[in-house]
Amino acid sequence: MPEINLSTAFFIGLGSLTIVASLGTILSRSPVTSALFLVLNFFALGGIYLLLEAQFIAVVQVIVYAGAIMVLFLFVIMLLNLEDEQRLTERYDVKKGFAILFAGLLLVEVLYVVGLKTPAIAPRLGTVAAEIGTAKYIGQQLLTEFLFPFEIISVLLLGAIVGAVVLAKKNFGPERATAKTTL
């Protein structure tokens, strides 16, 4: 029987918080409540990363997801003021049936892989993990060993930014200038 120490207790607390928040995200009716649960979820995940000695990832998780992306989500939800979310949830069609089917398949796959194909986790060496989690180590690795993937991702993000600007600039061509500009 594993001993219950402080970090186990924290893990159980944060893990159940993650699960509750995820359920809240998909089950709540109001989009704003969903978004808030998602923020809580990211927070709890950040806490779990912290338990795994991954300080940098924990903080980046909070900065990027909770601090920036969800604020943007919330901004859009509030701007559109989705009030008829009730009507949206009542529709069932073929598309939704397929979605449920594939989601179920994916779940079975994940459970199969996790349950049967994952080797037992090797005992973790605390000092090494703590060293890996620091910002310094991650930065060094990113700019030496993983330089190529890092640069590829940078280019990908740049492409996404350019694409967003193009999409946002609706009337960029002379023939498009008279096209409908409202959303």
């Binding site: 704003v32 808030l36 923020v39 300080q55 940098f56 903080v59 980046v60 909070v62 900065i63 909770a66 601090g67 920036a68 604020v71 943007l72 919330l74 901004f75 509030m78 701007l79 620091t134 910002a135």
Partner: protein, 376 residues
């Protein structure tokens, strides 16, 4: 030296005690910042400001009566607490109550990583500066949610403005922070202060003047202080995000706003003004260091108040233009200057002077190139 080494390994109990002290000081400071703000505003506008309320009920403090109105914060707090707590009929009650708590949480937890003297901080974590960015980026939820939960047009507009504003200025703030990290080669707040040494020429305000300006401006925006106080623009939005708040909940927002301002000042002092470093006195005893830290913070707070009562509020488009078209490129440019000078010349003292000159030239050049710019 030994005493300092002992201070570096603070026990958990000491940290909790320090937390109690810091929160006590911070909350008292908030009350008197409000008072100071009113007095300074009055001074700037050629008025008198609050000068009546004394501590008449306490006989020992009777001499303060009618002198300078030092009892005003206490009277204000009591007035706020006695008021009726009104929640709008169609508000989301839970979120309505949650929002001020989020604001206050974000304001009060940021100060945890700020060092007050050598080795004295509530939480001396490796990623101190990233932690500050993370927590300040959460502060926006309090304002945005209060705007949404109140179910009022004015509140919603205030909340929307605030989320857009904070996202826009966080980037420039982050870039300024990165330039500091490049200069000091550390993410830990204590190490950032240590690397600035007790020579004021080595402080980041000299080595990285542009970064200091960018960070301070972004801090004005992040704390919703004038000239960036669009989320609560009285003339357009009644009270902005806190239109529908009263009594204690309003007091919490008020508290959070001023606590935010003080904490932002401490962060600016830590990153750019040498933190607890005493000029030309390397191994100063801890109380001198704390004194230096508080003095610098008070100075920055004065700057915050001074700016608020000097500059008029931006229009929304000016705010966005300044954030995205001016401060963001400037931040990137500054990062480029700092990084390249470090690569070429190394991190030495002459660098700071060179950097100052270079930055001054660049700023002058950018303003000379665009004389018709209506940005500032």
């Amino acid at each position: 030296m030994n005493a300092l080494a002992l201070l570096l390994v603070m026990e958990l109990g000491d940290r909790f005690a320090l937390m109690g002290v810091v929160l006590g000081v911070l909350l008292t400071a908030v009350a008197y910042t409000v008072y100071a703000e009113r007095r300074i505003a009055a001074f700037i506008q050629n008025r008198t400001g609050p000068d009546r309320v004394g501590f008449d009920l306490i006989p020992q403090l009777k001499f303060l009566k009618g002198a300078i109105g030092l009892g005003q914060p206490l009277a204000d707090v009591i007035k706020l607490l006695m008021k009726e707590d009104v929640v709008p009929e169609n508000a989301n009650k839970f979120v309505h109550a949650l929002a001020p708590l989020i604001s206050l949480f974000a304001a009060l937890t940021t100060i945890a990583v700020v060092p007050y003297a050598k080795g004295v901080a509530i939480a001396d974590v490796n990623i101190g500066i990233l932690y500050i960015l993370a927590i300040t980026s959460l502060g926006v939820y309090g304002i945005t949610l209060s705007g949404w939960a109140s179910n009022s047009k004015y509140s919603l507009l205030g909340g929307l403005r605030s989320s857009a504003q904070m996202i826009s200025y966080e980037l420039s703030m982050g870039l300024a922070v990165v330039s500091v990290v490049v200069l000091t080669n550390a993410l830990n707040m204590g190490e950032i202060v240590e690397s600035q040494t007790s020579n004021p020429l080595n402080w980041n305000v000299c080595r990285n003047l542009l970064g200091f300006i960018i960070f301070t401006t972004a801090a004005f925006a992040e704390t919703n202080r004038a000239p960036f106080d669009l989320p609560e623009a009285e003339q357009e939005l009644v009270g902005g995000y806190h239109t529908e708040y009263s009594s204690m909940k309003f007091a919490l927002f008020f508290l959070a706003e001023y606590a935010n301002m003080i904490v932002a000042c401490t962060v600016i002092v830590t990153l750019f003004l040498g933190g607890y470093q005493v000029p030309f006195w390397t191994d100063a005893p801890w109380f001198v260091q704390v004194g230096a830290f508080i003095t610098k913070t008070l100075f920055m707070m004065f700057v915050f108040i001074w700016v608020r009562w000097t500059l008029p509020r931006f229009k929304y488009n000016q705010l966005m233009d300044l954030g995205w078209k001016f401060m963001l490129p400037l931040g990137l440019f500054n990062l480029l200057i700092v990084a390249s000078t470090i690569v070429i010349f190394g991190n030495s003292l002459p660098l700071s002077i060179l950097n100052l000159v270079l930055v001054a030239l660049c700023v002058a050049g950018s303003f000379a190139a665009k004389p018709q710019s209506k940005m500032a």
